[in-house]
């Protein structure tokens, strides 16, 4: 894996001046990765990249504000880093970006569904060019990578890091699918069907805030209005309406800022398809403001500015 070696060399060259470099390592089993905070060259041996390195490590950047850190990013993660910089939440000078040219990551949810048995603990994983050989309880199963790819990778148009100090790997010419089938199907449903769907899924929500905590753009931490008692935006009752209200807060605070990294949906322990909401909001932002968060440095999020004459908002004469 020469890409990994290139990355290690690049990190080694800058590690001395950095507090740490954030990457991935193997987690509790060979199928699951976990974030790795590299502080010394010895830690470098544990670094991994590839389709299992799913986490968006930009989430950690605001926690290191004011310190110089390095971060390893895929194309989609680099959008989050850029958006954080555009909002002046992290400074470009404080972050060394090790950009990857990504071939897509897996969805653990899809792997789980494709395996014959519930993968409590995976014994081994072999990653081929376009397949994944997973051994669970002595049984090996070969999955096509294309079948278990995360939804976001199917429509990805930024596989390579947009802004980086080191770009590792060969650049792609992305050919994304125009839209996601499940999104189109859901949007085509009637209001009543959609309403019933959210009632049901929000009935499942345990409000663990994993979606918020995994989100790279959710930077309020202890000051999140969803957990404030005064004003009490969301009551402590476990009602579908309160759970939905929390999601509405998340979506509206991300309007024009969401980089569609899919971390909220990935982190959800009860499999709520949160990206249906995010993707829809992003589509509206694209239509009205021609804006895509994190696609370029020095952009202002559309809701933090205005034009006296809006081209695509009708003045709503009655």
């Amino acid at each position: 894996m020469s890409q990994l070696d290139d990355l290690k060399t690049a990190i080694k060259s800058r590690l001395g001046e950095l507090e740490c470099v954030i990457g991935w390592e193997q987690g509790y089993d060979p199928l699951h990765a976990t974030p790795l905070f590299i502080r010394s060259e010895a830690d470098l041996d544990r670094l991994i990249i590839g389709p299992l390195a799913v986490h968006n490590l930009a989430t950690y950047l605001t926690g290191w504000k004011g310190k110089k850190v390095g971060v390893v990013v895929k194309g989609c993660d680099s959008r989050s880093v850029i958006e954080l910089m555009n909002e002046k939440l992290v400074s470009r000078d404080d972050v060394v970006i090790f950009g990857l040219c990504c071939d897509g990551v897996v969805s653990q949810r899809k792997i789980r569904a494709a395996l014959p048995a519930d993968p409590g603990f995976v014994e081994s994983v072999e990653i081929g060019a376009d397949s994944l050989k997973v051994t669970v309880a002595g049984q090996a199963a070969t999955l096509r990578l294309a079948d278990v790819q995360a939804d976001k990778c199917l429509v990805c148009d930024t596989p390579d890091a947009i802004v980086s100090d080191f770009l590792i790997g060969k650049a792609h010419t992305p050919a994304p699918a125009p839209s996601l089938k499940c999104q189109d199907e859901f949007e085509a449903k009637s209001d009543a069907e959609k309403f019933a769907f959210w009632q049901e899924t929000m009935g499942r929500c345990i409000r663990c805030y994993a979606c918020r905590n995994a989100c790279p753009m959710c930077v309020c931490r202890d000051y999140c209005i969803a957990t404030s008692r005064d004003p009490l935006w969301v009551s402590q009752e476990n009602l579908p309406s309160e759970n939905m209200m929390f999601q509405m807060i998340h979506v509206s605070h991300l309007a024009g800022r969401c980089t569609e990294c899919g971390e909220c949906e990935r982190a959800c322990p009860v499999d709520i398809p949160l990206m249906l909401l995010r993707r829809y909001m992003n589509k509206q932002v694209r239509d009205v403001f021609k804006h895509e968060a994190g696609k370029a440095l020095d952009q202002t999020p559309p809701l933090l500015t205005f034009k006296v004459e809006e081209e695509r908002i009708n003045e709503r004469g009655w």
Binding site: F197, T201, W233, A255, L277
Partner: protein, 167 residues
């Protein structure tokens, strides 16, 4: 115009202090007849209105929400309603994915001298909400409905992309 034979619905109105609230006052002083379903909340500026106010109102059982401020370029604070316009437009466009009928929310601009226009806005919006009827509740109303929801939720119907793997 009192709510004659129909049940009165709950419509929440967020009006900016300087234009639309004045406009509503002008309509009252002019003794224009208006439907009585609207409950007005006066805010300093349409820029004060967090779109989440509207969501919260709809979630808590409002049948409709009307927002009105100064005409763009006429804001008392110069630019409050320019920001409001962007936010409210995004909310209005976002509502369909949640299954909440986006016609239950409307925003418009009414100046303090436009009593007539205010009467028109209120009458039209109230008529629209009455056509839509009472808003469905996001929470089940009875124990039976709660149980049905709990059963469905535990089965985890899920979204189409999670139920099956796409080829």
């Amino acid at each position: 115009m009192p709510a004659q034979d129909v049940r009165e619905l709950r419509i929440v109105g967020f009006l900016c202090n300087w234009c639309s609230y004045g406009g509503a006052d002008t309509a009252g002083v002019g003794r224009f007849t208006q439907p009585t379903d609207l409950r007005i909340i006066r805010v300093p500026c349409s820029g004060r209105i967090d779109p989440l106010f509207i969501v919260r109102a709809l979630m808590n059982g409002a049948d409709g929400v009307l927002v009105s401020g100064c005409h763009p370029r006429d804001c008392h604070y110069a630019e409050g309603n320019f920001y409001a316009r962007r936010r409210l437009e995004m909310l209005k466009r976002f509502l369909p994915i949640t299954g909440i009928d986006e016609r239950r929310f409307e925003y418009t601009w009414v100046s303090a001298s436009e009593g007539q226009r205010w009467q028109h806005v209120v009458t039209e919006f109230t008529r629209r909400i009455h056509e839509l009827g009472p808003a469905p509740s996001f929470n089940p109303k009875s124990d039976v409905d709660w149980n049905a929801l709990a059963v469905k939720a535990s089965q985890g119907q899920g979204c189409p992309c999670h139920g099956s793997i796409q080829a």
